[in-house]
Point group: C2
Chain length 205, copies 2
């Protein structure tokens, strides 16, 4: 792209660094900012600066929080003997939206991925094993993506957690609700038959 | 969405104000920023602040520029008797990329759109008529979108410019290069037959 202004080019390049944002979208966003008032642009940059400076990661579960401990970990109504291990805070939000889980979380901050150079030490796994040492945990649910990285991480965590004689479970994989059988891929369909459950267990309580 | 942090929610809402950016994309962008180093986040906000504070709009054509006059208007090799009127600076960049135009530009900053409350006085039309008064302009090309707003603006500008006995032209409309005839809409195809040109004129010089 030919930019008539170096300042414009800088700003567009900064926006284009985001995943999934190309140069055309970045330009549209920057021009949108230019059309806004100086105060709303300041509000925008301030929200980012404040977030970066003041945001905390919960000392227990690594969830994003405004305090040292997050709202979920400090909520006494939640079952702290049940830990759900997730990749990042988007998964926490997704599971919270289902209203099907009343335990606490542990945010790994990624998945083991040798291809990207991410090993177990890059994730908050040692923090998780510290939590398990307390002896109060009854079950750990591994709610990770059904990808190669997810499966690798599940395999690694399962071995780690088994040392503590704690129950380890994974979330169910199968056809999605509303999914038509003929469009489901073979692996998912095959596995969903192999891991079938009694009808009574499939009903929501 | 349930946010575990007010700061996070603020930042996501600010990003979600951009056109075409929903809350999920905004969250992904904010989490990406959080994973970056403090210096690169500062670089990001600084690029925006600097752009907003220091950017100029060329005094002649309203193109974005770092100086009072843009590079195109100050370039003596360009034909300043030929003005191409466009909606915004993205169109300047698009036309510059074609390498088919050696005149100068005039950026309107929008199109006449009564539905959105945008009238002729909201655009840089008076600045354009000032330029025409100099008597040096031979032709004005109206390179506006083939939409209702574009056509309204063309109609209005044509009337204005005709007062100066200056040639007014519009960019050609018809089937796109590489377009297959059977998939072209009826209006475009019908107009492209009605406004056909001699074969010799269709060849690129």
């Amino acid at each position: 792209m030919n930019f008539s202004s170096k300042l414009l080019e800088n700003a567009v390049n900064e926006f284009a660094k985001f995943p999934g944002i190309g140069h055309k979208t970045a330009l549209r966003m920057v021009l949108n900012l230019l059309n806004q008032s100086a105060t709303s642009v300041e509000k925008f940059t301030q929200a980012i600066t404040e977030l970066k400076e003041k945001v905390c990661f919960c000392k227990i579960c690594r969830n994003i929080s405004d305090q040292l401990l997050c709202e979920i970990c400090t909520n006494t109504k939640r079952d702290s003997t049940l830990i759900c291990v997730v990749e990042d805070i988007r998964d926490v939000m997704a599971i919270e939206n289902t209203n099907q889980f009343n335990g606490v979380y542990h945010v790994l901050g990624g998945l083991i991925s040798p291809m990207d150079g991410i090993g177990p030490s890059d994730l908050s796994i040692s923090l998780l094993t510290e939590r398990l040492k307390s002896g109060e945990i009854i079950e750990v649910i591994l709610a990770l993506s059904a990808t190669m990285e997810g499966d690798t991480t599940i395999f690694y965590l399962h071995k780690k957690i088994k040392e503590f004689t704690i129950n380890v479970s994974v979330i169910a994989r199968g056809i999605a609700f509303g999914g038509e059988l003929e469009y489901v891929d073979e692996v998912t369909l095959g596995r969903s038959i192999a891991t079938r459950i009694p009808y009574e267990n499939s009903l929501l309580k």
